[in-house]
């Protein structure tokens, strides 16, 4: 069969016709038990929403774009791609969202933390020798998943630490040196050791280089939290429900993650979780 890439409506129809072979691989469905989150059900809902059914569009927040369904699908039908296109169509005219790094304090070269979580005052001490900025990603991420383009601004020559794996990387290109937080710990010369009894989260959206780096840092917890994409912001209570499975797997141990959305959702589901950077300023979940 011809690939469905580039033909979102066809991808949705094929998925909608399926009994749901991939459904239990979806971390959101499996974690939240929301029937609408099951990929084939979501495809049916997306088709109805595109036809103008009222009250259904919100369900499109339920995909976190982890790609598990594509991997589990025997024909690798690209449902997340199709949902991205469907959201853009539902949102209407594509907008541009601009986000700017906000200075937090300190002095030295500019160091930008791109995350939905604002670094607290303590972060300035923990990262002394830098002028610290926060690039708030929250609203931009939501707009991005609903079809907008994101433009980011940061001081020239910045070192940018990304703790939001959903933030479009292309928006940061050209702004400076871009590092994921585990890489940044080395690059900034910080002697980081995983806190005792912690697990290192290897999220599904981590690129391969980051994955191998994470695996080398300690006992790995390789699973999608089910919290990213448009879900974390659009439906935080369901993101927490989705993350509850990962929380159970962690069994009360501290989860250190390079993904702030995972940390937020895990904490909301009652688990102990911190991002790598948060551990620098004393977070223990």
């Amino acid at each position: 069969m011809e690939s469905t890439a580039g033909d979102p409506e066809r991808a949705l129809r094929i998925c909608a016709a399926c009994p749901g072979i991939c459904q239990y691989s979806c971390p959101v469905y499996r974690g939240s038990n929301l029937r609408s989150a099951a990929p084939h059900v979501l495809a049916r809902i997306a088709l109805a929403a595109l036809q103008g059914s009222p009250g259904l569009g919100e369900a499109l927040n339920l995909c976190v774009h982890c790609g598990e369904c594509v991997r589990a699908c025997p024909i690798h039908n690209d449902l997340p791609g199709a949902l991205m296109a469907a959201r853009a169509r539902l949102a209407g005219e594509a907008g541009v969202v601009r986000v700017e790094a906000r200075p937090l304090g300190g002095s030295g070269e500019p160091l930008v933390v791109a995350s939905p979580i604002e670094p607290p005052g303590r972060a300035i001490d923990a990262l002394s020798g830098w002028r610290l900025y926060w690039l708030p990603t929250r609203e931009a991420v939501r707009a991005y998943w609903w079809g907008s383009r994101v433009e980011a601004q940061a001081p020239e020559g910045s070192t940018i630490i990304v703790e939001d794996l959903d933030f479009p990387r292309e928006a940061l290109e050209g702004l400076g040196r871009i590092l994921y937080s585990p890489e940044a710990l080395d690059a900034l010369g910080l002697q980081w050791r995983p806190p005792g009894d912690s697990l290192i989260h290897v999220p599904c959206k981590a690129p391969e280089e980051l994955r191998s780096r994470l695996r080398g840092l300690g006992e790995a917890l390789e699973a999608c939290s089910g919290a990213g994409g448009p879900l974390g912001l659009g439906m935080p209570e369901y993101a927490a429900q989705a993350a509850s499975r990962l929380a159970r797997e962690a069994g009360g141990r501290l989860v250190v993650t390079p993904c702030a959305w995972a940390a937020l959702a895990l904490r909301a589901s009652g688990a102990r979780a911190c991002t790598f950077l948060e551990t620098l300023w004393g977070c223990r979940g």
């Binding site: 069969m1 909608a16 072979i21 239990y24 929301l34 049916r44 429900q241």
Partner: protein, 462 residues
């Protein structure tokens, strides 16, 4: 308002988060995998999904299920029990104004008795996860319906399902050794696991096949087996489908049928196996010496030449692709064809007649483009036949019902049973009397009334 009071009470019972009322959270329950509804949804997604339930509740414990039934009785609310939603006859689908009781959160799996191989699974546990859990411990249920990736334990038991290895291991009813079910006005019935008992008709079997009509299955005790040591794959080419049925009878009656055994007719063999038909494939399992001895005895018994597959072959290819239904669904969809399957069974004496009658009945409907049949389960006394028909998707409403109606009547008058393992759901309700007779149908209605006097669960309009 009774519905509002029920929703309020349900929030108290299961917690507010587990009572869904928003349109976006309910739309998915408007269909299961009844092809009639699936193809309607593809043609008119907006219309099809607007028929969702009034609310959905997801209980987190057996006690909550019992309390919800009690509340439904009190407030006169009707419930549709929903598990994996892979049922192919509309059984899980609510009517307008109904509330869905989704068992998804009852998803535990653990040993009840490891020595006995009895596993304790929640009604919402996905079969694939239960089987995976057992496999990691060296055990198996050997229950492999093609819907293994989709179905949940409660749905499988409630439809009295069979799997690809059921010739060797029996249907799910042989795995069920006990269960719990919440029954309106009775409470939570706890049937403890037992290898066999003789204490009136076994209550666990009252719910095995009850399709959400008599109560809500909450927990099932299933008998697992150690993973087989060896697997031998075979195929052969019988002279005709009729001849293949004759071979199958000899094998089944002497207990020499492969554990997984399928015979395809001329129409279906090229599609399912990629070979000219008719054709048979099989898998013998168990301790290596025993599997081989059974295979050798079987090969001596039948006149076709049995080929053992060392590498690639029709059986291996089929095993690899056996859950990949989406490839063919998509292919047909793209050329404007819809399809459905109808399974039925027949004693050996009428098997060939039932096969011919069902085929001709389906082909007699204008708009039917393809009919293929395979035999999928074999018993000493008879066989299960499984028919696939494809038709012009644009003529869904005229063709679909006509095929079903003619096939149901043809099967019954040729001496077959109207269903082997999919159950009755909504599609087969009108044909119950064909199978059970007037008195049988009246008895079933009486049992229904006794267990669910207010009719809060799905009923039959007899």
């Amino acid at each position: 308002m009774s519905l509002e009071s029920f929703v309020e009470e349900a929030r108290r019972i299961v917690g507010p988060r587990w009572v869904l009322v928003e349109t976006w959270s309910l739309a998915g329950y408007a269909i299961d995998y009844w092809p009639l509804l699936v193809y309607r949804a593809l043609r008119d997604p907006r219309g099809a999904l607007s028929r969702g339930p009034a609310a959905a509740v997801l209980p987190g414990s057996e006690e909550e299920v019992a309390a919800l039934l009690e509340a439904a009785q009190r407030f006169g609310v009707r419930l549709a029990v929903y598990a994996g939603g892979s049922g192919v006859l509309g059984g899980a689908v609510p009517d307008e104004g109904w509330v869905v009781l989704d068992v998804a959160r009852l998803d535990w799996v653990d040993w009840f008795d490891e020595e006995a191989g009895i596993v304790d699974a929640g009604a919402g546990a996905p079969l694939a996860e239960v089987e995976g859990w057992l496999n990691r411990r060296g055990w198996t249920l050997r229950h492999y319906p093609q819907s293994l990736p989709e179905a949940r334990i409660g749905g499988l038991v409630a439809t009295r399902s069979t799997g690809q290895y059921s010739t060797g291991y029996g249907g799910i009813e042989e795995r069920v050794k006990g269960l719990h079910a919440a029954v309106p006005g009775v409470g939570l019935v706890r049937v403890k696991p037992s290898p066999r008992r003789s204490v009136l008709p076994p209550l666990e079997q009252l719910f095995t096949g009850s399709e959400g009509l008599l109560g809500v299955i909450t927990r099932v005790y299933l008998e697992a087996l150690p993973l087989p040591e060896c697997e031998l794959r075979v195929h052969w080419r019988p002279g005709s489908f009729r001849e293949a049925l004759g071979e199958a009878r000899s094998l089944a009656q002497r207990r020499l049928a492969p554990d997984l055994y399928r015979i395809y007719d001329e129409q279906e063999a090229p599609v399912a196996l990629g070979v000219e038909g008719p054709a048979a494939i099989g898998v013998y399992e168990g301790p290596c010496r025993v599997a081989r001895a059974r295979l050798e005895a079987a090969a001596e018994l039948i006149s076709s030449r049995v080929e053992v597959e060392e590498g690639e072959g029709p059986a291996s290819r089929w095993l690899r692709e056996r859950f990949n239904v989406i490839a063919s669904i998509a292919r047909l969809l793209e050329i404007g064809l819809a399809f459905d399957t109808i399974e039925f069974s027949a004693p050996w004496g009428s098997a060939a007649r039932v096969y011919e009658a069902a085929r001709s009945a389906a082909l007699s409907v204008e708009g039917v483009a393809y009919v293929g049949v395979h035999a999928s389960h074999f018993y000493p006394s008879g066989v299960a036949l499984y028919m696939t028909f494809a038709f012009d998707a644009g003529r869904l409403e005229e063709v679909y019902g006509a095929v079903w109606d003619r096939v149901m009547r043809a099967v019954s008058s040729a001496g077959g049973s109207i269903s082997h393992h999919h159950g009755i759901g909504r599609m087969r309700l009108p044909y119950l009397k064909l199978e059970l007779g007037e008195e049988g149908a009246r008895l079933v209605a009486r049992i229904k009334r006794a267990l669910d006097p207010q009719g809060i669960l799905r009923g039959f309009p007899l």
